[in-house]
Subunit: 324 residues, 2 copies
Protein backbone atom coordinates (compact mmCIF):
# COMPACT_ATOMS: atom_id res chain seq x y z
CA UNK A 1 0.00 0.00 0.00
CA UNK A 2 1.14 3.51 -0.82
CA UNK A 3 2.24 5.68 2.04
CA UNK A 4 0.66 9.00 2.91
CA UNK A 5 3.79 10.86 1.86
CA UNK A 6 3.87 9.19 -1.53
CA UNK A 7 0.21 10.02 -2.12
CA UNK A 8 0.81 13.59 -1.01
CA UNK A 9 3.61 13.89 -3.52
CA UNK A 10 1.52 12.31 -6.29
CA UNK A 11 -1.41 14.62 -5.59
CA UNK A 12 0.71 17.77 -5.37
CA UNK A 13 2.35 16.82 -8.66
CA UNK A 14 -1.08 16.49 -10.28
CA UNK A 15 -2.33 19.75 -8.78
CA UNK A 16 0.72 21.71 -9.91
CA UNK A 17 0.22 20.61 -13.49
CA UNK A 18 -3.36 21.87 -13.52
CA UNK A 19 -3.15 25.57 -14.31
CA UNK A 20 -5.98 28.08 -14.34
CA UNK A 21 -4.54 30.94 -16.34
CA UNK A 22 -7.73 31.52 -18.29
CA UNK A 23 -9.66 34.70 -19.07
CA UNK A 24 -11.03 36.81 -17.48
CA UNK A 25 -7.99 36.96 -15.22
CA UNK A 26 -10.00 38.74 -12.47
CA UNK A 27 -11.91 35.47 -12.10
CA UNK A 28 -9.08 32.95 -12.39
CA UNK A 29 -6.22 34.64 -10.54
CA UNK A 30 -7.98 34.15 -7.18
CA UNK A 31 -8.52 30.47 -8.11
CA UNK A 32 -4.79 29.91 -8.73
CA UNK A 33 -3.92 32.01 -5.67
CA UNK A 34 -6.21 29.98 -3.40
CA UNK A 35 -5.03 26.60 -4.65
CA UNK A 36 -1.40 27.68 -4.28
CA UNK A 37 -1.86 28.64 -0.61
CA UNK A 38 -1.08 25.09 0.32
CA UNK A 39 -2.70 23.41 3.25
CA UNK A 40 -2.46 19.81 4.34
CA UNK A 41 -4.44 18.42 1.34
CA UNK A 42 -5.98 15.96 3.79
CA UNK A 43 -9.26 15.42 1.91
CA UNK A 44 -7.90 14.54 -1.54
CA UNK A 45 -5.23 12.33 0.04
CA UNK A 46 -7.97 10.53 1.97
CA UNK A 47 -9.76 9.77 -1.31
CA UNK A 48 -6.54 8.42 -2.83
CA UNK A 49 -5.62 6.51 0.31
CA UNK A 50 -9.01 4.84 0.46
CA UNK A 51 -8.94 3.97 -3.24
CA UNK A 52 -5.49 2.43 -2.84
CA UNK A 53 -6.48 0.70 0.41
CA UNK A 54 -9.33 -1.15 -1.31
CA UNK A 55 -7.13 -2.15 -4.21
CA UNK A 56 -8.20 0.51 -6.70
CA UNK A 57 -6.00 2.44 -9.10
CA UNK A 58 -5.22 5.88 -7.70
CA UNK A 59 -5.00 7.29 -11.23
CA UNK A 60 -8.76 6.75 -11.45
CA UNK A 61 -9.27 8.74 -8.26
CA UNK A 62 -7.00 11.67 -9.13
CA UNK A 63 -9.60 13.87 -10.84
CA UNK A 64 -12.26 13.35 -8.14
CA UNK A 65 -9.57 14.00 -5.50
CA UNK A 66 -8.78 17.27 -7.28
CA UNK A 67 -12.51 18.12 -7.29
CA UNK A 68 -12.63 17.44 -3.55
CA UNK A 69 -9.68 19.76 -2.89
CA UNK A 70 -11.11 22.53 -5.09
CA UNK A 71 -14.48 22.23 -3.34
CA UNK A 72 -12.80 22.45 0.07
CA UNK A 73 -10.93 25.58 -0.99
CA UNK A 74 -14.13 27.08 -2.38
CA UNK A 75 -15.79 26.68 1.05
CA UNK A 76 -12.81 28.40 2.72
CA UNK A 77 -12.99 31.24 0.21
CA UNK A 78 -16.68 31.92 0.87
CA UNK A 79 -16.35 31.28 4.64
CA UNK A 80 -13.65 33.95 4.79
CA UNK A 81 -16.07 36.53 3.37
CA UNK A 82 -18.79 35.50 5.82
CA UNK A 83 -16.40 35.42 8.79
CA UNK A 84 -14.68 38.65 7.73
CA UNK A 85 -11.35 36.82 8.01
CA UNK A 86 -8.33 38.78 6.74
CA UNK A 87 -5.71 36.01 6.84
CA UNK A 88 -5.71 32.41 5.63
CA UNK A 89 -2.62 30.24 5.78
CA UNK A 90 -0.48 33.26 6.55
CA UNK A 91 -1.63 35.21 3.49
CA UNK A 92 -4.36 37.70 2.74
CA UNK A 93 -7.74 36.14 2.03
CA UNK A 94 -9.14 36.60 -1.48
CA UNK A 95 -11.81 38.99 -0.35
CA UNK A 96 -9.22 41.20 1.41
CA UNK A 97 -6.66 41.01 -1.41
CA UNK A 98 -9.28 41.67 -4.11
CA UNK A 99 -12.83 42.37 -2.93
CA UNK A 100 -15.93 40.49 -1.86
CA UNK A 101 -17.52 40.43 -5.35
CA UNK A 102 -14.40 38.80 -6.76
CA UNK A 103 -14.39 36.36 -3.84
CA UNK A 104 -18.04 35.42 -4.35
CA UNK A 105 -17.67 34.84 -8.08
CA UNK A 106 -14.29 33.13 -8.12
CA UNK A 107 -15.67 30.91 -5.34
CA UNK A 108 -18.67 30.05 -7.50
CA UNK A 109 -16.30 29.24 -10.35
CA UNK A 110 -14.30 26.94 -8.07
CA UNK A 111 -17.54 25.17 -7.14
CA UNK A 112 -18.23 24.55 -10.83
CA UNK A 113 -14.59 23.54 -11.42
CA UNK A 114 -14.87 21.04 -8.57
CA UNK A 115 -17.75 19.35 -10.38
CA UNK A 116 -15.83 19.48 -13.64
CA UNK A 117 -13.05 17.41 -12.07
CA UNK A 118 -15.39 15.05 -10.27
CA UNK A 119 -17.23 14.38 -13.52
CA UNK A 120 -13.96 13.21 -15.07
CA UNK A 121 -14.34 9.71 -13.77
CA UNK A 122 -15.66 6.43 -15.10
CA UNK A 123 -19.41 6.46 -15.92
CA UNK A 124 -19.90 3.22 -14.02
CA UNK A 125 -19.52 4.90 -10.63
CA UNK A 126 -20.06 8.55 -11.55
CA UNK A 127 -23.65 8.67 -10.34
CA UNK A 128 -22.90 7.10 -6.95
CA UNK A 129 -19.94 9.42 -6.42
CA UNK A 130 -22.03 12.44 -7.29
CA UNK A 131 -24.79 11.40 -4.91
CA UNK A 132 -22.23 11.30 -2.10
CA UNK A 133 -20.68 14.57 -3.17
CA UNK A 134 -23.97 16.48 -3.65
CA UNK A 135 -25.25 15.36 -0.24
CA UNK A 136 -21.97 16.35 1.41
CA UNK A 137 -21.81 19.74 -0.31
CA UNK A 138 -25.30 20.55 1.00
CA UNK A 139 -24.38 19.35 4.49
CA UNK A 140 -21.24 21.51 4.54
CA UNK A 141 -23.41 24.56 3.73
CA UNK A 142 -25.82 23.59 6.53
CA UNK A 143 -22.89 23.27 8.92
CA UNK A 144 -21.59 26.72 8.00
CA UNK A 145 -25.08 28.17 8.56
CA UNK A 146 -25.32 26.59 12.03
CA UNK A 147 -21.83 27.94 12.77
CA UNK A 148 -22.98 31.46 11.83
CA UNK A 149 -26.24 31.06 13.79
CA UNK A 150 -24.38 30.02 16.92
CA UNK A 151 -22.38 33.26 16.92
CA UNK A 152 -25.45 35.20 18.00
CA UNK A 153 -27.51 32.47 19.69
CA UNK A 154 -27.35 31.79 23.41
CA UNK A 155 -27.99 28.41 24.98
CA UNK A 156 -26.00 26.39 22.47
CA UNK A 157 -25.59 22.87 23.83
CA UNK A 158 -22.63 20.57 23.34
CA UNK A 159 -24.88 18.39 21.20
CA UNK A 160 -25.72 21.43 18.98
CA UNK A 161 -22.00 21.97 18.60
CA UNK A 162 -21.38 18.34 17.70
CA UNK A 163 -24.12 18.53 15.05
CA UNK A 164 -22.48 21.62 13.58
CA UNK A 165 -18.95 20.20 13.33
CA UNK A 166 -20.33 16.92 12.00
CA UNK A 167 -21.93 18.82 9.10
CA UNK A 168 -19.24 21.41 8.55
CA UNK A 169 -16.19 19.16 8.80
CA UNK A 170 -16.71 15.50 9.65
CA UNK A 171 -19.02 14.37 6.82
CA UNK A 172 -16.60 15.66 4.21
CA UNK A 173 -13.77 13.49 5.57
CA UNK A 174 -16.17 10.53 5.47
CA UNK A 175 -17.18 11.42 1.92
CA UNK A 176 -13.57 11.67 0.73
CA UNK A 177 -12.87 8.12 1.95
CA UNK A 178 -16.18 6.88 0.56
CA UNK A 179 -15.48 8.29 -2.89
CA UNK A 180 -12.11 6.56 -2.93
CA UNK A 181 -13.77 3.30 -1.88
CA UNK A 182 -16.43 3.62 -4.60
CA UNK A 183 -13.74 4.11 -7.24
CA UNK A 184 -11.99 0.98 -5.96
CA UNK A 185 -15.36 -0.78 -6.33
CA UNK A 186 -15.28 -2.44 -2.94
CA UNK A 187 -18.50 -3.85 -1.44
CA UNK A 188 -21.33 -1.87 0.13
CA UNK A 189 -20.42 -2.92 3.69
CA UNK A 190 -16.91 -1.57 3.28
CA UNK A 191 -18.12 1.65 1.62
CA UNK A 192 -20.45 2.33 4.54
CA UNK A 193 -17.90 1.53 7.24
CA UNK A 194 -15.09 3.54 5.67
CA UNK A 195 -17.51 6.50 5.55
CA UNK A 196 -18.36 6.16 9.26
CA UNK A 197 -14.68 5.68 10.04
CA UNK A 198 -13.95 8.98 8.28
CA UNK A 199 -16.89 10.80 9.81
CA UNK A 200 -15.91 9.87 13.38
CA UNK A 201 -12.29 10.60 12.62
CA UNK A 202 -13.51 13.98 11.35
CA UNK A 203 -15.25 14.67 14.65
CA UNK A 204 -12.06 13.82 16.54
CA UNK A 205 -10.04 15.92 14.06
CA UNK A 206 -12.17 19.03 14.62
CA UNK A 207 -12.21 18.61 18.40
CA UNK A 208 -8.44 18.28 18.25
CA UNK A 209 -8.30 21.44 16.16
CA UNK A 210 -10.29 23.30 18.81
CA UNK A 211 -8.01 21.89 21.51
CA UNK A 212 -4.87 22.93 19.64
CA UNK A 213 -6.26 26.41 19.07
CA UNK A 214 -6.09 26.87 22.86
CA UNK A 215 -3.39 24.49 24.07
CA UNK A 216 -1.35 23.85 20.93
CA UNK A 217 2.35 24.37 20.57
CA UNK A 218 2.53 27.77 18.87
CA UNK A 219 5.76 27.02 17.05
CA UNK A 220 4.46 23.71 15.66
CA UNK A 221 0.86 24.90 15.19
CA UNK A 222 2.09 27.71 12.96
CA UNK A 223 -0.27 30.28 14.38
CA UNK A 224 -0.87 32.04 17.65
CA UNK A 225 -3.09 30.10 20.00
CA UNK A 226 -6.19 31.62 21.58
CA UNK A 227 -7.91 32.75 18.36
CA UNK A 228 -11.16 30.99 19.28
CA UNK A 229 -11.07 32.53 22.78
CA UNK A 230 -10.53 36.04 21.41
CA UNK A 231 -13.50 35.68 19.02
CA UNK A 232 -15.69 34.08 21.75
CA UNK A 233 -16.19 31.02 19.57
CA UNK A 234 -18.53 28.52 21.17
CA UNK A 235 -16.29 25.47 20.85
CA UNK A 236 -16.50 22.28 22.89
CA UNK A 237 -14.06 23.80 25.41
CA UNK A 238 -16.14 26.97 25.79
CA UNK A 239 -19.42 25.08 26.17
CA UNK A 240 -17.97 22.51 28.57
CA UNK A 241 -16.45 25.28 30.68
CA UNK A 242 -19.79 27.06 31.01
CA UNK A 243 -21.45 23.74 31.85
CA UNK A 244 -19.02 23.11 34.70
CA UNK A 245 -18.19 26.56 36.03
CA UNK A 246 -19.63 27.84 39.29
CA UNK A 247 -18.88 30.86 41.48
CA UNK A 248 -15.58 32.62 40.78
CA UNK A 249 -14.78 30.58 37.66
CA UNK A 250 -18.16 31.36 36.09
CA UNK A 251 -17.55 35.02 36.87
CA UNK A 252 -14.17 34.94 35.08
CA UNK A 253 -15.76 33.31 32.03
CA UNK A 254 -18.62 35.82 31.95
CA UNK A 255 -16.40 38.82 32.47
CA UNK A 256 -13.90 37.80 29.80
CA UNK A 257 -16.04 36.24 27.07
CA UNK A 258 -17.22 39.66 25.94
CA UNK A 259 -16.97 41.42 22.57
CA UNK A 260 -14.01 43.76 22.17
CA UNK A 261 -12.15 42.77 25.31
CA UNK A 262 -9.66 45.57 26.14
CA UNK A 263 -6.76 43.14 26.60
CA UNK A 264 -6.85 40.00 24.50
CA UNK A 265 -3.62 38.58 25.87
CA UNK A 266 -4.96 38.80 29.40
CA UNK A 267 -8.29 37.37 28.23
CA UNK A 268 -6.65 34.28 26.74
CA UNK A 269 -4.53 33.79 29.84
CA UNK A 270 -7.49 34.03 32.23
CA UNK A 271 -9.72 31.76 30.17
CA UNK A 272 -6.98 29.16 29.77
CA UNK A 273 -6.50 29.18 33.52
CA UNK A 274 -10.19 28.48 34.08
CA UNK A 275 -10.17 25.81 31.37
CA UNK A 276 -7.31 24.06 33.16
CA UNK A 277 -8.93 24.37 36.58
CA UNK A 278 -12.17 22.88 35.25
CA UNK A 279 -10.17 20.24 33.39
CA UNK A 280 -11.95 20.95 30.12
CA UNK A 281 -8.70 20.02 28.37
CA UNK A 282 -9.08 16.53 29.84
CA UNK A 283 -12.78 16.37 28.93
CA UNK A 284 -11.78 17.34 25.43
CA UNK A 285 -9.21 14.53 25.28
CA UNK A 286 -11.90 12.08 26.43
CA UNK A 287 -14.26 13.22 23.64
CA UNK A 288 -11.51 13.02 21.04
CA UNK A 289 -10.70 9.52 22.16
CA UNK A 290 -14.39 8.52 22.20
CA UNK A 291 -14.80 9.51 18.54
CA UNK A 292 -11.46 7.92 17.69
CA UNK A 293 -12.62 4.65 19.22
CA UNK A 294 -15.92 4.85 17.33
CA UNK A 295 -13.93 5.34 14.15
CA UNK A 296 -11.86 2.27 15.00
CA UNK A 297 -14.96 0.16 15.61
CA UNK A 298 -16.11 0.92 12.07
CA UNK A 299 -12.65 0.26 10.72
CA UNK A 300 -12.64 -3.17 12.31
CA UNK A 301 -15.88 -4.04 10.53
CA UNK A 302 -14.27 -3.55 7.14
CA UNK A 303 -14.15 -6.92 5.48
CA UNK A 304 -11.00 -6.93 3.42
CA UNK A 305 -8.56 -9.71 4.31
CA UNK A 306 -6.03 -8.63 1.69
CA UNK A 307 -6.05 -4.97 2.66
CA UNK A 308 -2.93 -3.69 4.33
CA UNK A 309 -4.39 -1.80 7.25
CA UNK A 310 -1.17 -0.29 8.57
CA UNK A 311 -1.01 2.82 6.41
CA UNK A 312 -4.66 3.73 7.02
CA UNK A 313 -4.21 3.32 10.77
CA UNK A 314 -1.01 5.36 10.68
CA UNK A 315 -2.85 8.09 8.85
CA UNK A 316 -5.73 8.08 11.35
CA UNK A 317 -3.36 8.22 14.27
CA UNK A 318 -1.33 11.05 12.78
CA UNK A 319 -4.49 13.02 12.06
CA UNK A 320 -5.63 12.91 15.67
CA UNK A 321 -2.47 12.73 17.67
CA UNK A 322 -0.89 15.64 15.83
CA UNK A 323 0.34 18.54 17.91
CA UNK A 324 -0.20 21.09 15.15
CA UNK B 1 -45.83 17.80 -29.63
CA UNK B 2 -46.57 19.44 -26.30
CA UNK B 3 -47.25 23.13 -26.33
CA UNK B 4 -45.22 25.65 -24.36
CA UNK B 5 -48.16 26.36 -22.06
CA UNK B 6 -48.62 22.67 -21.25
CA UNK B 7 -44.93 22.29 -20.46
CA UNK B 8 -45.03 25.42 -18.33
CA UNK B 9 -47.92 23.96 -16.36
CA UNK B 10 -46.19 20.59 -16.01
CA UNK B 11 -42.97 22.19 -14.81
CA UNK B 12 -44.67 24.53 -12.34
CA UNK B 13 -46.61 21.58 -10.94
CA UNK B 14 -43.35 19.70 -10.41
CA UNK B 15 -41.63 22.71 -8.88
CA UNK B 16 -44.47 23.39 -6.45
CA UNK B 17 -44.32 19.85 -5.12
CA UNK B 18 -40.61 20.17 -4.33
CA UNK B 19 -40.42 21.84 -0.94
CA UNK B 20 -37.33 23.01 0.89
CA UNK B 21 -38.53 23.37 4.45
CA UNK B 22 -35.41 21.82 5.93
CA UNK B 23 -33.17 22.94 8.80
CA UNK B 24 -31.47 25.30 9.37
CA UNK B 25 -34.33 27.53 8.25
CA UNK B 26 -31.99 30.53 7.82
CA UNK B 27 -30.46 28.60 4.93
CA UNK B 28 -33.57 27.15 3.30
CA UNK B 29 -36.10 29.98 3.64
CA UNK B 30 -34.22 32.09 1.07
CA UNK B 31 -34.17 29.06 -1.26
CA UNK B 32 -37.97 28.68 -1.10
CA UNK B 33 -38.42 32.45 -1.31
CA UNK B 34 -36.24 32.71 -4.43
CA UNK B 35 -37.89 29.81 -6.23
CA UNK B 36 -41.36 31.20 -5.42
CA UNK B 37 -40.56 34.60 -6.96
CA UNK B 38 -41.71 33.22 -10.27
CA UNK B 39 -40.15 34.33 -13.51
CA UNK B 40 -40.75 32.99 -16.97
CA UNK B 41 -39.12 29.57 -16.31
CA UNK B 42 -37.74 29.78 -19.85
CA UNK B 43 -34.66 27.60 -19.30
CA UNK B 44 -36.32 24.52 -17.77
CA UNK B 45 -39.15 24.73 -20.32
CA UNK B 46 -36.52 24.79 -23.09
CA UNK B 47 -35.04 21.55 -21.74
CA UNK B 48 -38.48 19.92 -21.67
CA UNK B 49 -39.44 21.33 -25.07
CA UNK B 50 -36.26 20.01 -26.65
CA UNK B 51 -36.66 16.59 -25.04
CA UNK B 52 -40.24 16.39 -26.29
CA UNK B 53 -39.28 17.74 -29.72
CA UNK B 54 -36.77 14.92 -30.26
CA UNK B 55 -39.26 12.31 -29.11
CA UNK B 56 -38.01 11.88 -25.53
CA UNK B 57 -40.10 11.44 -22.41
CA UNK B 58 -40.37 14.73 -20.54
CA UNK B 59 -40.62 12.86 -17.24
CA UNK B 60 -36.96 11.90 -17.74
CA UNK B 61 -36.05 15.56 -18.20
CA UNK B 62 -37.99 16.93 -15.24
CA UNK B 63 -35.23 16.62 -12.61
CA UNK B 64 -32.51 18.11 -14.84
CA UNK B 65 -34.95 20.89 -15.82
CA UNK B 66 -35.45 21.60 -12.10
CA UNK B 67 -31.67 21.66 -11.66
CA UNK B 68 -31.40 24.15 -14.52
CA UNK B 69 -34.01 26.45 -12.94
CA UNK B 70 -32.39 26.24 -9.50
CA UNK B 71 -28.99 27.03 -11.01
CA UNK B 72 -30.42 30.04 -12.86
CA UNK B 73 -31.96 31.33 -9.63
CA UNK B 74 -28.68 30.79 -7.80
CA UNK B 75 -26.90 33.03 -10.33
CA UNK B 76 -29.54 35.74 -9.85
CA UNK B 77 -29.17 35.50 -6.07
CA UNK B 78 -25.39 35.99 -6.17
CA UNK B 79 -25.58 38.58 -8.99
CA UNK B 80 -27.93 40.66 -6.84
CA UNK B 81 -25.30 40.83 -4.08
CA UNK B 82 -22.59 41.78 -6.56
CA UNK B 83 -24.79 44.34 -8.34
CA UNK B 84 -26.15 45.71 -5.05
CA UNK B 85 -29.67 45.23 -6.47
CA UNK B 86 -32.48 45.78 -3.96
CA UNK B 87 -35.41 44.47 -6.04
CA UNK B 88 -35.91 41.32 -8.10
CA UNK B 89 -39.24 40.49 -9.73
CA UNK B 90 -40.95 43.20 -7.71
CA UNK B 91 -39.78 41.87 -4.35
CA UNK B 92 -36.80 42.47 -2.11
CA UNK B 93 -33.69 40.55 -3.08
CA UNK B 94 -32.44 37.91 -0.62
CA UNK B 95 -29.44 39.95 0.39
CA UNK B 96 -31.64 42.97 1.18
CA UNK B 97 -34.36 40.98 2.94
CA UNK B 98 -31.84 38.94 4.95
CA UNK B 99 -28.17 39.87 4.56
CA UNK B 100 -25.27 39.19 2.26
CA UNK B 101 -23.89 36.23 4.27
CA UNK B 102 -27.27 34.50 4.07
CA UNK B 103 -27.41 35.29 0.35
CA UNK B 104 -23.93 33.88 -0.29
CA UNK B 105 -24.57 30.67 1.61
CA UNK B 106 -28.15 29.98 0.49
CA UNK B 107 -26.89 30.64 -3.04
CA UNK B 108 -24.13 28.06 -2.56
CA UNK B 109 -26.74 25.62 -1.29
CA UNK B 110 -28.86 26.22 -4.39
CA UNK B 111 -25.81 25.50 -6.54
CA UNK B 112 -25.41 22.14 -4.77
CA UNK B 113 -29.17 21.49 -4.98
CA UNK B 114 -29.04 22.17 -8.73
CA UNK B 115 -26.49 19.39 -9.09
CA UNK B 116 -28.55 17.13 -6.85
CA UNK B 117 -31.48 17.42 -9.29
CA UNK B 118 -29.34 17.11 -12.38
CA UNK B 119 -27.77 13.94 -11.00
CA UNK B 120 -31.25 12.39 -10.76
CA UNK B 121 -31.21 11.23 -14.33
CA UNK B 122 -30.38 8.01 -16.14
CA UNK B 123 -26.71 6.96 -15.82
CA UNK B 124 -26.48 6.40 -19.56
CA UNK B 125 -26.47 10.11 -20.34
CA UNK B 126 -25.55 11.57 -16.94
CA UNK B 127 -21.90 12.17 -17.80
CA UNK B 128 -22.66 13.94 -21.09
CA UNK B 129 -25.28 16.13 -19.43
CA UNK B 130 -22.89 17.05 -16.65
CA UNK B 131 -20.14 17.94 -19.10
CA UNK B 132 -22.54 20.38 -20.78
CA UNK B 133 -23.74 21.73 -17.46
CA UNK B 134 -20.28 22.13 -15.87
CA UNK B 135 -18.95 23.96 -18.92
CA UNK B 136 -21.98 26.25 -18.99
CA UNK B 137 -21.84 26.99 -15.26
CA UNK B 138 -18.20 28.10 -15.64
CA UNK B 139 -19.06 30.22 -18.70
CA UNK B 140 -21.91 31.93 -16.85
CA UNK B 141 -19.44 32.91 -14.08
CA UNK B 142 -17.01 34.21 -16.73
CA UNK B 143 -19.82 36.24 -18.30
CA UNK B 144 -20.74 37.78 -14.96
CA UNK B 145 -17.07 38.69 -14.37
CA UNK B 146 -16.83 40.42 -17.77
CA UNK B 147 -20.08 42.22 -16.99
CA UNK B 148 -18.57 43.53 -13.73
CA UNK B 149 -15.28 44.41 -15.42
CA UNK B 150 -17.07 46.46 -18.09
CA UNK B 151 -18.66 48.67 -15.44
CA UNK B 152 -15.33 50.33 -14.78
CA UNK B 153 -13.51 49.74 -18.08
CA UNK B 154 -13.53 52.25 -20.91
CA UNK B 155 -13.21 51.31 -24.56
CA UNK B 156 -15.55 48.37 -24.46
CA UNK B 157 -16.30 47.33 -28.04
CA UNK B 158 -19.54 45.88 -29.35
CA UNK B 159 -17.71 42.61 -29.85
CA UNK B 160 -16.65 42.63 -26.16
CA UNK B 161 -20.28 43.13 -25.27
CA UNK B 162 -21.39 40.27 -27.52
CA UNK B 163 -18.82 37.99 -25.89
CA UNK B 164 -20.14 38.94 -22.45
CA UNK B 165 -23.83 38.28 -23.20
CA UNK B 166 -22.93 35.08 -25.02
CA UNK B 167 -21.28 33.77 -21.84
CA UNK B 168 -23.66 35.26 -19.31
CA UNK B 169 -26.94 34.43 -21.05
CA UNK B 170 -26.82 32.79 -24.47
CA UNK B 171 -24.84 29.63 -23.74
CA UNK B 172 -27.23 28.66 -20.96
CA UNK B 173 -30.22 28.72 -23.34
CA UNK B 174 -28.21 26.56 -25.74
CA UNK B 175 -27.29 24.21 -22.89
CA UNK B 176 -30.92 23.85 -21.75
CA UNK B 177 -31.96 22.72 -25.23
CA UNK B 178 -28.90 20.48 -25.54
CA UNK B 179 -29.63 18.73 -22.26
CA UNK B 180 -33.20 18.04 -23.39
CA UNK B 181 -31.88 16.67 -26.68
CA UNK B 182 -29.35 14.42 -24.90
CA UNK B 183 -32.11 12.96 -22.72
CA UNK B 184 -34.15 12.27 -25.86
CA UNK B 185 -31.05 10.49 -27.21
CA UNK B 186 -31.12 12.13 -30.61
CA UNK B 187 -28.02 12.05 -32.82
CA UNK B 188 -24.88 14.16 -32.41
CA UNK B 189 -25.69 16.41 -35.38
CA UNK B 190 -29.03 17.34 -33.85
CA UNK B 191 -27.56 17.86 -30.39
CA UNK B 192 -25.00 20.30 -31.81
CA UNK B 193 -27.47 22.22 -33.95
CA UNK B 194 -30.10 22.57 -31.24
CA UNK B 195 -27.35 23.99 -29.02
CA UNK B 196 -26.33 26.57 -31.62
CA UNK B 197 -29.98 27.32 -32.28
CA UNK B 198 -30.43 28.06 -28.57
CA UNK B 199 -27.20 30.01 -28.26
CA UNK B 200 -28.07 32.36 -31.13
CA UNK B 201 -31.62 32.66 -29.89
CA UNK B 202 -30.09 33.57 -26.53
CA UNK B 203 -28.08 36.37 -28.14
CA UNK B 204 -31.24 37.71 -29.80
CA UNK B 205 -33.11 37.30 -26.50
CA UNK B 206 -30.60 39.40 -24.54
CA UNK B 207 -30.39 42.08 -27.22
CA UNK B 208 -34.19 42.21 -27.19
CA UNK B 209 -34.07 42.53 -23.40
CA UNK B 210 -31.72 45.51 -23.71
CA UNK B 211 -33.98 47.04 -26.36
CA UNK B 212 -37.09 46.59 -24.21
CA UNK B 213 -35.32 48.11 -21.22
CA UNK B 214 -35.21 51.36 -23.20
CA UNK B 215 -38.09 51.17 -25.66
CA UNK B 216 -40.40 48.58 -24.10
CA UNK B 217 -44.02 49.07 -23.27
CA UNK B 218 -43.89 49.81 -19.55
CA UNK B 219 -47.30 48.31 -18.84
CA UNK B 220 -46.48 45.07 -20.66
CA UNK B 221 -42.78 44.98 -19.63
CA UNK B 222 -43.85 45.10 -15.98
CA UNK B 223 -41.10 47.49 -14.98
CA UNK B 224 -40.09 51.04 -15.66
CA UNK B 225 -37.97 51.47 -18.74
CA UNK B 226 -34.63 53.26 -18.70
CA UNK B 227 -32.99 51.24 -15.91
CA UNK B 228 -29.92 50.48 -18.04
CA UNK B 229 -29.61 54.17 -19.01
CA UNK B 230 -29.80 55.31 -15.38
CA UNK B 231 -27.04 52.87 -14.35
CA UNK B 232 -24.89 53.76 -17.42
CA UNK B 233 -24.90 50.10 -18.48
CA UNK B 234 -22.77 49.54 -21.56
CA UNK B 235 -25.38 47.71 -23.62
CA UNK B 236 -25.43 47.32 -27.39
CA UNK B 237 -27.53 50.50 -27.64
CA UNK B 238 -25.06 52.49 -25.53
CA UNK B 239 -22.02 51.24 -27.41
CA UNK B 240 -23.61 51.72 -30.84
CA UNK B 241 -24.68 55.24 -29.90
CA UNK B 242 -21.12 56.19 -28.90
CA UNK B 243 -19.84 54.61 -32.11
CA UNK B 244 -22.15 56.75 -34.25
CA UNK B 245 -22.48 59.99 -32.33
CA UNK B 246 -20.70 63.15 -33.44
CA UNK B 247 -20.96 66.82 -32.38
CA UNK B 248 -24.07 67.74 -30.41
CA UNK B 249 -25.27 64.14 -30.01
CA UNK B 250 -21.93 62.98 -28.61
CA UNK B 251 -22.07 65.92 -26.19
CA UNK B 252 -25.52 64.89 -24.96
CA UNK B 253 -24.31 61.30 -24.42
CA UNK B 254 -21.20 62.42 -22.58
CA UNK B 255 -23.01 64.95 -20.43
CA UNK B 256 -25.76 62.54 -19.42
CA UNK B 257 -23.98 59.20 -19.06
CA UNK B 258 -22.47 60.26 -15.74
CA UNK B 259 -22.69 58.73 -12.28
CA UNK B 260 -25.39 60.22 -10.03
CA UNK B 261 -27.17 62.29 -12.65
CA UNK B 262 -29.24 64.94 -10.84
CA UNK B 263 -32.39 64.18 -12.86
CA UNK B 264 -32.80 60.59 -14.02
CA UNK B 265 -36.10 61.18 -15.78
CA UNK B 266 -34.55 63.92 -17.90
CA UNK B 267 -31.46 61.74 -18.47
CA UNK B 268 -33.55 58.87 -19.85
CA UNK B 269 -35.54 61.26 -22.06
CA UNK B 270 -32.42 62.90 -23.52
CA UNK B 271 -30.60 59.64 -24.14
CA UNK B 272 -33.65 58.07 -25.77
CA UNK B 273 -33.91 61.06 -28.06
CA UNK B 274 -30.28 60.64 -29.17
CA UNK B 275 -30.78 56.86 -29.57
CA UNK B 276 -33.73 57.54 -31.89
CA UNK B 277 -31.89 60.20 -33.84
CA UNK B 278 -28.93 57.86 -34.37
CA UNK B 279 -31.35 55.02 -35.17
CA UNK B 280 -29.66 52.71 -32.67
CA UNK B 281 -33.11 51.15 -32.13
CA UNK B 282 -33.07 50.11 -35.78
CA UNK B 283 -29.48 48.86 -35.57
CA UNK B 284 -30.56 46.84 -32.56
CA UNK B 285 -33.46 45.32 -34.52
CA UNK B 286 -31.01 44.40 -37.30
CA UNK B 287 -28.70 42.64 -34.82
CA UNK B 288 -31.59 40.81 -33.20
CA UNK B 289 -32.75 39.63 -36.59
CA UNK B 290 -29.23 38.62 -37.59
CA UNK B 291 -28.92 36.31 -34.57
CA UNK B 292 -32.46 35.08 -35.09
CA UNK B 293 -31.62 34.12 -38.67
CA UNK B 294 -28.44 32.38 -37.52
CA UNK B 295 -30.54 30.42 -35.06
CA UNK B 296 -32.90 29.46 -37.86
CA UNK B 297 -30.05 28.27 -40.07
CA UNK B 298 -29.02 25.84 -37.33
CA UNK B 299 -32.62 24.80 -36.82
CA UNK B 300 -32.95 23.93 -40.49
CA UNK B 301 -29.95 21.62 -40.25
CA UNK B 302 -31.68 19.47 -37.67
CA UNK B 303 -32.29 16.11 -39.28
CA UNK B 304 -35.54 14.89 -37.81
CA UNK B 305 -38.23 14.18 -40.40
CA UNK B 306 -40.78 13.10 -37.80
CA UNK B 307 -40.26 16.08 -35.52
CA UNK B 308 -43.10 18.55 -35.38
CA UNK B 309 -41.26 21.83 -35.80
CA UNK B 310 -44.21 24.16 -35.26
CA UNK B 311 -44.10 24.39 -31.48
CA UNK B 312 -40.34 24.99 -31.34
CA UNK B 313 -40.62 27.72 -33.96
CA UNK B 314 -43.55 29.29 -32.12
CA UNK B 315 -41.50 29.31 -28.97
CA UNK B 316 -38.48 30.92 -30.69
CA UNK B 317 -40.65 33.56 -32.27
CA UNK B 318 -42.42 34.39 -29.01
CA UNK B 319 -39.10 34.63 -27.21
CA UNK B 320 -37.75 37.25 -29.59
CA UNK B 321 -40.78 39.10 -30.83
CA UNK B 322 -42.13 39.66 -27.33
CA UNK B 323 -42.87 43.20 -26.30
CA UNK B 324 -42.20 42.53 -22.64
Amino acid sequence: MLKFKELYKEFCGFLEKETFDFEPKELYEPVSYTLALGGKRIRPIMALLSCDFFGGDIKEAMNPAMGIEIFHNFTLLHDDIMDDAPIRRGKETVYKKWNSNIAILSGDTMFALAYKYITQTDSKYLKTILEVFNKTAIEVCEGQQYDMNYETEDNISISDYMKMIRLKTAVFLGAALKIGALIAETNRNNVDHIYCFGENLGMAFQLQDDYLDVFGNEAKFGKKTGGDIITNKKTFLYLKAFELARGEELKVLEENFIPNHPNNELKVEKIKEVYRKLKVDEYSAIEINRYYQKAMQHFEKIDCPDCDKVEMLNFAERLIKREY
